[in-house]
């Protein structure tokens, strides 16, 4: 719907010069016609070629990864531990760690994100200083480079919160004051919050005003209206936000490399303060930290393929849910 309106806005922007442009029409009809037409027809060709370049890049990348990785994509690869200095074996701990990480991240990001969206839409006055401040914060959060989140996570979560917990509850011993999956997932949650907030707010904006009015007219309080009308009707949007956050978070390496990801672990993470292996970080490790990069190449290809498939599948799911949401309110 937004696309349609944007397009029509562009058209209406252009149409005055087209329609009212008597001065423009005159030279076209005169001798300069051919030159102008040549100029005009050059544009579609130029833009077309550039578009083709983009598509070609994507195809080359995908082709390279699929061709190199599909051979190594065996059941054993998906279910086994890395062996022999990561030149053999599988990536199961990395898959497990990634799933664990993003589930934890979702648990942190969705409630906070949804609460922020509710605040912005239903409690803050639309143009108040507070609402604008939150919006600026959210937009800026989305623009912060991910390595900064990594350093922030290390400084704030690991060293400040973690050490604080250790001092308060563990007599200064080392329990939470070190990189761990909880700190990594919290860091990722901060990183993906803007996605959750924006998609949730968009879904809430799509709820017909009629529903809200009907609810108030029946004597519902604001909170009852939010709980019984707004949240149920924006569930698909919230879900979409969650999935987009996961697909964004699953591919990030920088935020977790200081806050919990491990080079190699002989065990799977079972507690919140365990370290973990992760697919993206594993790719980084295989490609730069291995003693024999040549030998890890086939594994590297297959790992990247798994990471890509996971991200694509999540994005496809988000698109599907969003389509269903649109259809529901179209009628």
């Amino acid at each position: 719907m937004t696309h349609v309106s944007t397009d029509s806005a562009i058209i209406s922007d252009l149409s005055p010069t087209d329609a009212g442009g008597v001065s423009l029409a005159a030279p076209i009809l005169s001798g300069r016609k051919s030159r102008l037409l040549r100029k005009l027809s050059l544009l579609p060709i130029l833009t077309g070629i550039l578009t083709l370049c983009v598509v070609l890049m994507l195809v080359i990348i995908l082709w390279n990864i699929v061709a190199g990785g599909i051979g190594g994509l065996t059941w054993e690869f998906l279910t086994a531990n890395p062996t022999e200095g990561m030149t053999k074996g599988g990536i199961f701990p990395a898959i497990f760690g990634t799933v664990f990480l993003v589930i934890l991240m979702t648990i942190f990001a969705i409630p906070v994100g949804v609460a922020t969206a509710i605040f912005l839409r239903y409690y803050a006055k639309p143009d108040s200083r507070m609402a604008r401040l939150v919006r600026v914060a959210v937009n800026n959060l989305a623009g912060v480079p991910s390595i900064v989140f990594g350093l922030f996570g290390l400084g704030f979560f690991v060293q400040f919160v973690g050490r604080g917990i250790d001092k308060a509850f563990y007599g200064g011993g080392l329990a939470f004051g070190q990189p761990a999956i909880i700190w990594a997932s919290l860091t990722l949650a901060v990183l993906t919050l803007p996605v959750v907030i924006v998609t949730t707010e968009e879904a809430m904006r799509a709820i017909p005003r009629d529903y809200i009015e009907a609810s108030y007219a029946l004597g519902a309080t604001r909170w009852q209206t939010i709980w019984r009308v707004v949240i149920p009707n924006s569930l698909s949007g919230i879900l979409t936000g969650g999935i987009l956050a996961v697909s964004r978070g699953a591919g990030e390496v920088a935020p977790i490399m200081f806050t919990g990801a491990a080079y190699y672990l002989p065990y799977l993470p079972a507690k919140l303060n365990d370290q973990f292996m992760e697919l993206g970080y594993h790719v980084y490790v295989l490609s730069t930290q291995s003693p024999d990069v040549e030998k890890t190449l086939p594994l590297l290809y297959s790992t990247v393929l798994v990471l890509l498939l996971l991200t694509f599948a999540l994005n496809a799911l988000a698109v599907l849910i969003r389509m269903r949401l649109r259809m529901r309110y179209a009628g």
Binding site: D210, Y211, I212, S215, Y216, L218, G219, Q224, R228, V229
Partner: protein, 274 residues
Amino acid sequence: MPGNPPMTELVPKHLHSASSTAPPSAKIQVRQLNFYYGPTLALKNVDFDVITNAVTALIGPSGCGKTTFLRTLNRMNDQVPGARAEGQVLLDGTDIHGPDVDVTALRRRVGMVFQKSNPFPKTIRENVAFGLRIAGIRDQFVIEEAVEESLRLAALWDEVKDNLDGLALQLSGGQQQRLCIARALAVKPDVLLMDEPASALDPISTGKIEELIEDLKSRYTIVIVTHNMQQAARISEYTGFFYMGELIEYGPTLKIFTTPAEKRTEDYVTGRFG
């Protein structure tokens, strides 16, 4: 309901002349109501008595303030940023703008049906039960009873009784509007505000809504905004004519339509403008 004098029973149900002996009792008394959207004055000094257990029609050209007036009666305009009311709106003698008035309780007593039917994307049963659930009623038996009673009152029961778990949005437009009426009735209001409830419906569905209003007025005080002069003449006992935010004339429907005191009223009801 305190302050409701028993004389209600003495008032004839169909008052077509102001010359009846017993004065009809007023459910809602509006006194010197001014209403602002930001700096814009939308209602000017309106005095209005909504008569108990009768149908009152509000007519007037678009933008004349009749919908705004309707929505001040259950404070739905509270939702509009910058909206502000001055003056008194007394429901059974109590000012609804008073500091200790619970607006949710007010809206349970003064229900509302909107121009565009707006059932929730839920089942038929859950639509009707919505108001009860938010009022904190959990007893399934009570809810089932109320759902059936409300649907019967709204003349929808026979059409949907075998399909209570069907989705409300699959009903026809007219059925959806009657479902909205059932939903409003389920919380047992005294007053029902209707904002052009039939303007989006075909003539047959409109006829059903009008019949329904006829049936309901023995139990409810009804205020209806309408653009349709014939409709106002058919279904209402009292009519108020609004123009440019002012109540130009208010009285028994028959008088407004046959011997209006004001020239502007006559011009409007005879279709000379608006």
